[in-house]
Symmetry: C2
Subunit: 431 residues, 2 copies
């Protein structure tokens, strides 16, 4: 047991990681969990399924690291070499581990499959090692101490690793009881850019406390703001920082943790006993899909319309032919008529309607690719705006769908309809 922050490295193994057939998300999962403990990974090494290279790496790292997390190579095939490499590095033999064997037997029994030689191989562990339980897969994890280094071997299947991480974290905390876990708060935002937000904090909050580190991670469509504070920092400090961010970015903040625009909108609607409908042209069903991906969405969503052609805007949503002829499908009058039609047909209280040019074809000088009109609100309180996002088709669809959801969120919360960022993209005055 040590009072300094432990040195932790990862060793990843698998030919699919070297060929690029698999993108490694496992080490990011481990890095995030270690971050909550206040530990930063020191190094990651990724190797092919090569016994000598794996053995040499385990031996070398174990001479100075406190903890080595090995990922992959625990499966039943001949390419799975982690147990053999660990045994070779430790200078011990492989032998059948009774607890590992019992796990595999019960795993096969539950699935009503006979235990074959390949399964049985997974019970061959280095002498003197312990198992780390695997609640989903056939391969147990392996824990073993080499000199002063704790080696923890974990499965490559992401779901199995995720399930094993709690016992890994427990193992590390048990050996390093003085670790000071960090308080991490994640805020989900929409309509903010990474560098602009960073600059905004630097300009508006020059006295930001050093004890609370601030990270920005841009995704499409949301951006995450991460506040990290040491567990021994003043508890009021992080809360104070959060308040400062809320007054700075307030109406951009959707929620905490894994909050999404769609889930937030559905919750606001449910709280108010309202129903929403969608009328989509350029997003082609994406807004409805984002809403219905959320469990329980049926409480506030009954129907959506995908009207891709002019004829369907007319036949399904009663958009007047005259409007289509006079203004074109991508226009303010048409998108408002789409919203009105969807409200009338579905009986919902609120609607989001979008019509735009997703590209790559279909643009013109007057209405270039990326032009979109959005209408949102209720029949009595319907709003609309035109924006231009000249980006790749699927990113355009994602951003427009998110913008529609955000505009409804703002209306439900009585916030101003457009952020300073979206403002820059506006192409016309709204009503």
């Amino acid at each position: 047991m040590s009072t300094r922050t432990p040195r932790i490295q990862m060793l990843l193994t698998g030919s699919e990681l070297m060929s690029g057939d698999t993108v490694d998300s496992n080490s990011a999962m481990v890095g995030q969990r270690l971050g909550e403990l206040g530990i930063t990974l020191e190094r990651k090494i990724t190797l092919d399924d090569d016994l000598d290279a794996l053995t040499a790496a385990i031996r070398e790292i174990s001479t100075y690291a406190d903890i080595l997390i090995v990922n992959g190579g625990l499966g039943p095939t001949v390419d799975d070499l982690t147990a053999a490499a660990l045994a070779a590095a430790a200078g011990v033999a492989l032998g059948e581990n009774p607890r590992a064997l019992a796990h595999i037997e019960s795993w096969c029994e539950q699935r009503q499959i006979p235990m074959d030689a390949a399964n049985r191989k997974q019970a061959q562990l280095p002498a003197g090692s312990d198992i780390l339980p695997n609640i989903t897969g056939s391969a147990v994890g392996i824990a073993m101490t080499l000199g002063d280094c704790r080696v923890l071997c974990t499965p490559g299947v992401p779901g199995e690793l995720r399930n094993m991480l709690d016992s890994i974290i427990d193992d590390i905390r048990h050996r390093h009881p003085d670790l000071q876990p960090r308080h991490i708060l994640r805020l989900q935002t929409f309509g903010l850019g990474e560098s602009a937000a960073q600059q905004c904090v630097a300009d508006a909050l020059p006295d930001w406390p050093q004890q609370v580190s601030l990270g920005f991670r841009a995704g499409a469509p949301q951006m995450e703001i991460k506040l990290t504070a040491a567990s021994d920092a003043d508890p009021g400090l992080q809360a104070g920082c959060r308040e400062q961010l809320e007054s700075l970015f307030g109406d951009h903040i959707i929620g905490e943790g894994n909050a999404t625009l769609a889930a937030r909108v559905l919750q606001l609607l449910s709280d108010r006993g309202r129903q929403i409908t969608t009328a989509e042209s350029c997003t082609g069903g994406l807004i409805a899909s984002m809403l219905t991906r959320v469990p329980g969405s049926s409480a506030a969503f009954e129907a959506g319309f995908v009207t891709y052609s002019n004829r369907m805007k007319r036949d399904l949503l009663a958009v007047p032919e005259a409007l289509l002829e006079a203004h074109g499908a991508v226009s303010e009058p048409v998108v408002r008529a789409m919203a009105e039609g969807a409200l009338a047909r579905s009986g919902a209280d609120m609607a989001i309607a979008v019509s735009g040019i997703a590209g790559p074809d279909g643009g013109s000088a007057e209405k270039p690719v990326g032009t979109v009109w959005i209408a949102w609100g209720s029949a009595a309180d319907l709003h609309s705006c035109g924006l231009c996002w000249p980006v790749e088709r699927s990113l355009f669809q994602t951003m427009v769908a998110a913008a529609g959801l955000d505009l409804i969120r703002r209306q439900l919360l009585a916030l101003p309809p457009l952020s300073w960022q979206a403002e820059r993209r506006r192409i016309d005055a709204t009503r």
Copy 2:
């Protein structure tokens, strides 16, 4: 210049890679491109932005590797240390590189922004190094030879790396002219499992030639089969292997390269001058969204219906109330009525309709979570089947949407409606 296969390693740098805030997809991109050259990455090392650790790693790797590809750390901030670490490892000074400076000047000019000190820092390269052009970003790449090792430093922004990879590949081929690029053929499939497909090949094609390696990569919803052959292999060999796979998995193969079910369905419809519509309950717009993500989808898709509630199935798709009462929304008669209603309302030639229980709530003993009915076809030739996929909500939606598209694909190609795999999931007889 060498005639053996070069030893290539990668060094990745960035605190976001250690914290897990970013998942590294760059090394997979590099691994795939090297695979086409017939080279397998020997090792990847990932480090924090730490000058000493980066310098030591570059120095160590350069003593035995032929090529070291460094990724990240070329930006304008103080955390970007790649040039400094390379200079330290080489024992040379950093100095302003005229070609790098010219690039940055022109980059700033194009964006009409003044060149600041941070931008100018990116022109500080190790003495004796060359630049690798960056057509999109401000940071040039760096090429330098340390002893016998070629060190190639690349930007961490994925799009910039992608654009730089052609010149990296050229640099490697120039120094290793005897490399034998591989022929790689990727086939996209639906309805096949990874291990079952592997077993199927082992059983049915025992004489599979050693010169053509076979890889299976399961994704949701598609699985990729990768055939890799040396460039000096008999050209007929890979073609022959492909034919064997086609006779084995024929109706599961969607197409080559990046083919998707939605794009394939749209192409088959366009070829036949037909239109498709969708009537979605449990997939909530996902099928329409998958179709409209494909550029040019308007040629074969005009309208889709998301009817999440019973009332909307009745009001929008004219599903008889009596059917809903007698059989429930998740039933064969209702899903067929949904398809018929969507065909009638949209005027399309073909429809996909789905109604199921995505969960986590809403299941019963008779109709557990994962139960789904799908109807597909034209008014004159309408089919239906019931399946059960008891998986997590969003995976269920993805798999059901893909199954619907695959059933239409099979009908358009006059293939049998269900594969042996889906057959196992059937819950009732079809008409």
